[in-house]
Symmetry: C5
Subunit: 323 residues, 5 copies
């Protein structure tokens, strides 16, 4: 699907065009074309390939998706694959999508796949500052990457919130049976996020140092900025991962401690009932000469002794923290 296709000159949008007209504008000095696609079919991509002279393999990749984030140079043009992430509140999971970018000196093509937001807002923000858009495709590339990277922050926040909830479950008063499963699931999400983010570091770093004409000298510090953001996101994710591991260990430790407590309670009550039952058993023996059995207050006395022993034991266990 073609979402958007426009020609720009001097940092301003000059025309909304269609695919057939792309090669005309690309041929004009001072013009560049910015095309937004969403899960395009093969015919659209083939047409683009003819109009812009894209490399066979890059078009293949853009069609099939499921690529690793990477930066490929084909002659003087770049092909960039990025993974995007959004937090899916319903599924409590990270939704990973892909954006592929073809960048030449006079064109930018973005191809979105899967669970990913569009770049209409990026386009309008760019058009609002002609001074910067004037730098051409290099700046558009920055704007899109910046948007992609910024969209990771709420994902990281959501993951951290999940961890907070987990911590409450772990250190709360109840042993919750599904804590282990939730830690495991969250770890899966974190690994997915990590896998999406970490190759971006290399891509951003290479773009910040990219020495050829495609990216203006003045635009390059912007890529360093994106690079810093990516590194920060990556750091947060690593921190999450480490804390999750610790959380599972802490959980295991707590379960053991609670088990210890249950066992002490069990042992305590077993002792109290054991003593009481033993006494009742003794006075239930059938010996003929058991003088206390004949006493008028034998029975209340027996009950009293049993109650005393039980209370004494209870009090001692209480003091020892067993009950």
């Amino acid at each position: 699907m073609i979402v958007n296709c426009a020609a720009y000159a001097d940092g301003r949008r000059v025309a909304d065009i269609d695919l057939e007209a792309v090669s005309d504008y690309v041929a004009k000095d001072g013009y560049f074309v910015w095309i937004g696609l969403h899960e395009p079919d093969e015919t659209i991509l083939r047409k683009l390939q003819d109009e812009l002279g894209l490399h066979e393999l890059a078009v293949e990749d853009a069609r099939r998706a499921h690529q690793r984030p990477k930066l490929e140079e084909y002659g003087s043009s770049l092909f960039i694959v990025l993974r995007t992430a959004i937090w899916d509140d319903g599924a409590n999971a990270v939704g990973v999508g892909e954006t592929h970018l073809f960048v030449g000196s006079r064109y930018v093509v973005s191809v979105r796949h899967g669970n990913t937001l569009g770049y209409a807002d990026v386009r309008s923000r760019c058009e609002a500052v002609p001074r910067l858009l004037h730098h051409g495709p290099g700046f558009v590339l920055y704007a899109i990457m910046d948007a992609i990277v910024d969209r990771y922050f709420p994902v990281v926040d959501a993951l951290e919130e999940e961890l907070d909830k987990l911590e409450e479950s772990i250190f709360g008063p109840q042993v919750e049976r599904n804590v282990a499963e939730r830690v495991y699931d969250l770890k899966g999400e974190v690994i997915a996020a990590k896998r999406a983010v970490s190759p971006l570091i290399d891509v951003c770093n290479r773009l910040a140092r990219y020495d050829q004409g495609l990216i203006d000298e003045e635009v390059r510090p912007y890529f360093r900025d994106v690079y810093d953001h990516v590194v920060r996101i990556n750091e947060s994710i690593d921190g999450l991962r480490e804390l999750l591991t610790s959380a599972l260990e802490a959980n295991l430790s707590l379960v053991s401690i609670r088990q210890n407590e249950v066992m002490k309670t069990l042992a305590g009550w077993a002792a109290i009932f054991g003593v009481a039952t033993l006494m009742a058993g003794i006075w239930g023996m059938n010996f003929e000469h058991m003088p206390e059995l004949k006493w008028a207050f034998g029975y209340p006395m027996a009950l009293g002794i049993i109650a005393c022993a039980a209370t004494l034991l209870y009090w001692r266990f209480r003091r020892a923290g067993w009950l």
Copy 2:
């Protein structure tokens, strides 16, 4: 065993030849020879060595198999060892094989060992696009490596499916005794797959940058493509490994939690029976003056008290989640 031996010119198969004729075709300009072998005996390899001038050590390696994936240069020819993997559904295990490749400017020899599929399909696909096969042995090398790497994907999928089944066992309602063993076995498979894949990264990377005449400039991006696939497979395997470790920990944590529950249940019933038995014991004592023993409704009352106490305890334990 000689599986296939043919001469090519201009991207087309020109003749099916036998080993004696190989050196004739190799001497002709514009021709190249593509030979497929499967666990060849020494005589075949020696004959090939004479016809193509292969290096002693490479031939030794190709005969004995059990090599590490590697890329060796002997003069202007390459010797490449790759590990192949297929998923053996019966054994629920990764079947690892080996393919050795001799690549010169006018010949490609593939030698298969062990549990590995043939390359007949690769050959017919190559022959279908003379435009690309025209690039000669370099392209054939790409085609075979691409096939080998693509065959890893179903292996990774099968491993991930095994992990899914394991997760169901772990987080399911039953404690399954063999979970630990299955995690351990799966970990062994993952380590085997990892050991097969990870040296491929280096081999592909070196081929993508290989600067000498053997591989055409236009073919090189194809090796970068293979490189990307290998890196993705490697990433998936690393993810699997990490999740397996977490799965075992989660399992341990769950077993402990379940033990806790069993223990609480045990403690709860022990308390209920303890109280009831104690009461029965008390009324079984042989004191002479136990007035309730003589009451007409003493017995039903006693049964009622015992039942009440047990019910009360049961209800309290129930509320506390112990029963």
Copy 3:
């Protein structure tokens, strides 16, 4: 908020100026300006940007804070982001702040954010040694970084003290239920400290090797000194992290050992009561021909036998370390 703004010449403070006058002093040979800001609003930063020609992106970063520690070169000036740490005794937590530094050949601007101490003491210490302050902004940069890094030492000390307390709880005679939570919380603090410190290593290292005119040859060894301190702090934090992991494991091991002891105690008393209750039960049977029941001393004998058996068992369990 503008905290301080002064012009220096020949290593001495020559005037307290305001922002409008900054560009005048910066234009004079032999003069430099040192400005201290605390969470400045946008107007102040914009004015500074005009006066000193700071880079757009650096000003953006300084305004928004929450940056990663980094060192950026914009033309001949440096932009440095550092994380500061203080130990918050009340919250038992590391309070992390940020300091951003703009350093040019004739100016230093420090921008503090969040939980961070001021640099008035740094300024007065610098002014006390005109011989060194004479080296200009490069030396001021050193002085501020040295102060920031030195303020990490009490944080590390506090963390180590917390670990000491934890060790006492873990290896003390009581099982404390919240040990796992405290280990987990402390680990979170250590990870936060680590994340603040570790990027400083790279920043200091690059400054110690920084070859351009901004930092005098004689000042460079001072940065190596700061570098050494950062590395030492980093090492201490890594040591803490490793010990924390071991502490949690040791705790788990101890909890298990204690559980073992509780269980042995439980088993021991269960056996003693079991034997005694069994005997009482036997003599409580209603057989007609149980001669001992008629003996005059049958009852004391029975009590004696029960006591003996219990004592014997007690003594044996005692010796085996079960009770």
Copy 4:
């Protein structure tokens, strides 16, 4: 002890000589000397030092042994320390020895220490192929290193066999008490093997790239071959190490699961006996008005009820998998 000392020319042994004659042969063009020593005393080493001009420090190292594997260049000669390993079937342990090699353009000296096999077989295999021995000391060095590395394979096989036995113990039907100790001991062996092998990687790699005259261009690929073997051995050892860690974890997990089963069994029987004993206790109470006590079939009925209750409980626990 001097094991062997011979002069070679043109790839053939020309004379068995003694130490005094070494310097004569070393001086002759086209000759080289190959000396094999086993734990030599200082006099022999000092004589050799005089005859061949060996470096003081190398001789010191060779005398004292207990060196790390390393490759040192002293002028145009090499000093190489290698660790050797054999599997000691009696002790079920890796026996580590050392071989030191002095290699100059006209001599090779091997010094063996500790638990290590001789190189007589290497010598005879070399003498069988004068074509290769013709390359001089460089080839002899290869032959000895190849032998040392090949002798690691049976060690790795033995370690893997030990792991197989351990796996059987761990996943077998019995909880074996010494599993943890055996895992620990095997881990110690694996660490020892790892420590012997891993520095060899660097030594072989450097020799494969060693550019000076000592090693012929044609001999260098042979060192790459040795390098590949070492890397493979190292990989196997790493795999072992990882599996051992998993084995211990799996063991822990299994022990917990079995404990769970024991506890359920305990709880089940406790419940059955608890119910039965309670009923017996109730009918043992001394109330006057307990009509069932007077029924003719009261006793069999009571026994029947008790048996029924026990059977019912047994059957339910059985179905729940507790018994």
Copy 5:
């Protein structure tokens, strides 16, 4: 405190001098001065700084101690910080000290801090071989570093001995409660040792490659020797660390296995007593028609049945390994 201060020429001690005379000897060709200090006060260091022209920062570091091991170049002189270790038998702990070295072309100054042995023996050993001492300060530097590194070996031996004792405790017949604490403490010691040793690797490596005039070409191989020793010590410490981690895990596993055994014993005896008590309870019921109660041999028969049942159960549990 000034321990020693002497001037050397031609590898021989020519005079014991005091600090004021140092600059005279340093000015003379062919002479060098070797000064040994122990926790010197500021005046001594200041005097030395004047006499030898030491760098401000180096003197600061030497005065305050608590530095990281490092190698700093100040112009043509070196400042080296090393950590020393001795094993404190009383405290069962590693005692860490520091030695700082100033090395110029005509002077060596060693400054000792904390728990560290003197270098009198190094001095006398050096003076015994004028041939080597002739190389000047470079050789003295080697001699001191060699001594420091050699003193690590007994520390490593002591740590390994501690681990041996721990292993005996862990795998011995008794569960020792303080094993976890001892493992934890030993780990702390190992981390301390590691922190002292590992930066030495870099220092030694840089000295072995140090290309400037300070260290003679012939002396450099000696530093490679020291480097090898440091690497070996570091390896041993890493091995210790890994084994300690395994030891704690093995301990945890063993505690669990022992708990399992205790629980089986508990379950076994509970079952035996349960059966016996149940039978006694049944014959203690008050039914009128219980014919066996009237049999002459009813009582012995009951005792016999109870004993038989208990024996049977005992024998079965015994065979199953529960008792």
